[in-house]
Symmetry: C2
Subunit: 196 residues, 2 copies
Amino acid sequence: MPKARLTPASVTEAAAALVDEVGFDNLSMGLLAERLGVKTPSLYKHVTSQAELAHRIAVLAMTEAGDTIRDAIQGRSGSDALAVGAQAMRTYVREHPGRYAAANATRPTGPDDPFIPASERVLASWAAMLSGYGLDPGQEIHAMRTLRSVLHGFATLEVAGGFQIDASVDESFTWLINFIDQGLRAGTASGGDAAR
Amino acid sequence: MPKARLTPASVTEAAAALVDEVGFDNLSMGLLAERLGVKTPSLYKHVTSQAELAHRIAVLAMTEAGDTIRDAIQGRSGSDALAVGAQAMRTYVREHPGRYAAANATRPTGPDDPFIPASERVLASWAAMLSGYGLDPGQEIHAMRTLRSVLHGFATLEVAGGFQIDASVDESFTWLINFIDQGLRAGTASGGDAAR
DNA sequence: AGCTAAAGGCTAACCGCATTAGCCACAGAG
DNA sequence: CTCTGTGGCTAATGCGGTTAGCCTTTAGCT
């Protein structure tokens, strides 16, 4: 057999790098093939379809994001964990907008889709971080969803160029994190007042 | 000339209805033509390209969303305005996921793009609502961005099926609104404490 | 009422891109 | 040294957006 220049993993990695440059919906088999110094149909020896390729990018992105967030939170707790975790996620999205878009475009294909555990690991990191606030158990799910909403919303709007005014976006993000932190701590203190 | 069965406006409206059903990235000229009882090339008598069609859907969506939010906030202020405004936006996105996706996929094409005033009207509604909290002027931009992030993030995650657990999503949303309201009011009271 | 012109629909054709079919060459196992 | 299967290639298919060019209908004018 000829030397395996390409592998499913290397193709996926190259595709991920590509979408970060050209945008997720500008991904094309021709462009990727060119990057890899190969003709388009050859890619199908390593990937069954463009849809599957996109899905692999999504799994890769979720896994990477999960690792990044976990590492950032590592050894920290409370406000500190929130701050670095949120910054880690925002940074990941800014550096890998195409991968993040791929992850958002993906739906699990079945019960054994590796995308599921990958995204659960992200959620687990957030849950661990939130547990440091000692929230009322019934409120944790709502706090989790609120946290995911802000972070996802902010990152999405930012990479889409949604923040036009020339006020510092960095500053807005730290303000946002602080806002969330204050709210979570207030909720803790008052034993659930913020949930009414 | 034959009777004008189709107009640019009616085609746009039909396309908007279509994307709400089949999803924004499943929009196709063939599908739309079929809906309108016409052959695909005939659409080009009313629309110059699929990209322009998508852009028109985006403008329509922004305009509709702006009207809905403005009407909801009308005559209310503070916590009340926040609650109904946020609910209005969430409802709009749930009822028109395709249009909302179109709006998010769109970038202004130029300085006289009608998309710009349409989105500014949405922002103006949020600004009017926020003004009721009497925030420090320097913080308004951050509060605005935070608000946009949560609402956009929540709505996006919800329509994407991102909230899996069977805890009530409605309940989470009212929790979220209350969380934001508390934070804004705290920021008001302490004269900017939440912004540190 | 009849003529004219252009709007608006249709068929045929083009093009780019994902995907498939089938061929060929090289490298590792025996 | 041969055999085999992997991994690349060229050629061809099909779908979807788009363009070209034709043809009918009808509003508006005489």
